[in-house]
């Protein structure tokens, strides 16, 4: 049953290294961790003066779901303005509430997580780490 969690789209996201690693010169950076499981995510961004996220880097010590969520976040916001982060947050909230919505985009891959309360925080951690950099 929880097989469904590790379907191809999730595994592909987790293995997507395009935004993996720290940025050399981030304009904003933040780290959050989940003390319960020891997971830790750092999000770096390089933000243009008009608010556009020019580049994003993530450094994840965490599970597949956490890594996949970091990749999904990077894909959702790079090259976009600040509204993209809010949109990602809404999409993830919908998905983790089990709502299938065409607006979910890349986040739709996480729909099976909705049934696993113990894993919700794994998926949320990258967005928790990112929130301060986007609100800065």
């Amino acid at each position: 049953m929880s097989d469904a969690l590790y379907h191809d789209a999730i595994l592909a996201l987790a293995k997507d290294r395009r935004h993996a690693g720290r940025l050399d010169a981030p304009t904003h950076s933040h780290t959050s961790d989940n003390p319960l499981c020891g997971d830790r995510v750092t999000i770096d961004i390089e933000r243009a003066s008009d608010g556009t996220v020019r580049r994003i880097g993530h450094f994840v010590r965490g599970c597949v779901l956490c890594q996949a969520a970091a990749a999904a976040l990077a894909a959702s916001v790079e090259g976009r303005g600040p509204a993209a982060f809010a949109a990602a947050e809404s999409a993830l909230a919908r998905v983790l509430a089990g709502q299938n919505d065409p607006e979910n985009g890349v986040w739709a891959a996480f729909l099976p997580v909705a049934r696993h309360t113990s894993r919700l925080d794994c998926v949320r951690l990258p967005l928790v780490a990112a929130k301060p950099v986007f609100e800065a």
């Binding site: 929880s2 003390p35 319960l36 696993h116 309360t117 113990s118």
Partner: protein, 398 residues
Amino acid sequence: MTQALRSQFPILTPSLAYLDSAATAQMPLAVLDAVRAFETSSRANVKRGVHRLAEAATDAYAAARSDVAAYLGVPPSEIVFTSGCTAALNLVAHSFGALMKPGDAVLLSALEHHSNLVPWQMLAARSGIELRFLDVDAEGRIDLSALETKLDARVKLVSLAHVSNVTGSVLDVASVVATAAKVGARVLLDGAQRAPHGPLDLKTLGVDFYAFGGHKVFAPHGVGVLWARRELLDAMPPFLGGGEMIAQVELAHSTWAAAPAKFEAGTPPIGAAIGLGAACRWLGTLPWAEIAATEARLCQRLLDGLAATPGVRVLGPQSLQARAPVVSFALEGTHPHDICQIMDSAGVALRGGHHCAQPLHKRFDLAGTTRASLALYSDDSDIDAFFAGLSKVRKILL
């Protein structure tokens, strides 16, 4: 209606008049079955596991917290599960006590249960906190006339029984809250004897802390509830240390999780908490106006019958006003143990002794009393059995 309720309690056979619910209330099938279902289909430790039993247990434990919160009208994140009412009161004495300074004071009353007295005596001895006491009037009520004079800025907490487990008197909470607010004192209610008699709306009550235990609200022993306002939970240091209540642990130093986890060290009483959640959910579905009317009518029968019995002295209000169905009495020339024993032989379960309220009994110059206490399953047959038993007691002992 009572018959339909009563049939949900397997222990309540026709030959048993259970009038000891203030000590421990009986458990309905809804609770028995919820606990058994947990133990046989989703038993696991909570919080840290991702396998299906652990997830089911964690979800059930969280749902129990929500069900208790709903019964009290507060957010689940303000509900701390403890191992009982006594443990909840000790938690406050330690964790809120740690915020107090020598010379600060706690205001109690002379009718408190030992569980709302001894923890404060221990705090006083530990930390130089002063204890002050409200007296009890002739009706067995906390005498609030001295409230203003006993409350000054040194009093940081007023901790009182919402309902007395001996006299059944109900506290005038609004007065206490209003007066305490003037000096900035927090108010804790020991709700052990109030919680079994219907849903509460703690936000409207206006208090700061509320404590009660599971076994008196038709749930298992070994679980209790402390509710406190969020800002207090955030401000108080933890009480017990261990697993689950931490954020980061190093050998020399640790940091704490956010409340309620901060106050729930170690594996919690999972099955009992799930039972308590089931009890609150079940209680939330009951016709409380009807139940309250029945409890009041039966209580009046007890009071009237006792008033008509020579040599009986009731320790508590004679009227139903601000009174819960807990009736303690002395019968001249008899000892509570003998009354209870003979009552038992007549199928009536009562409790005799000081009911963990020695100072109150001393105040009334009695070593003990005999107590009859009602719950939502009580009916006229119980009261009939009580008075038949009382005749027998008088015949044998007097």
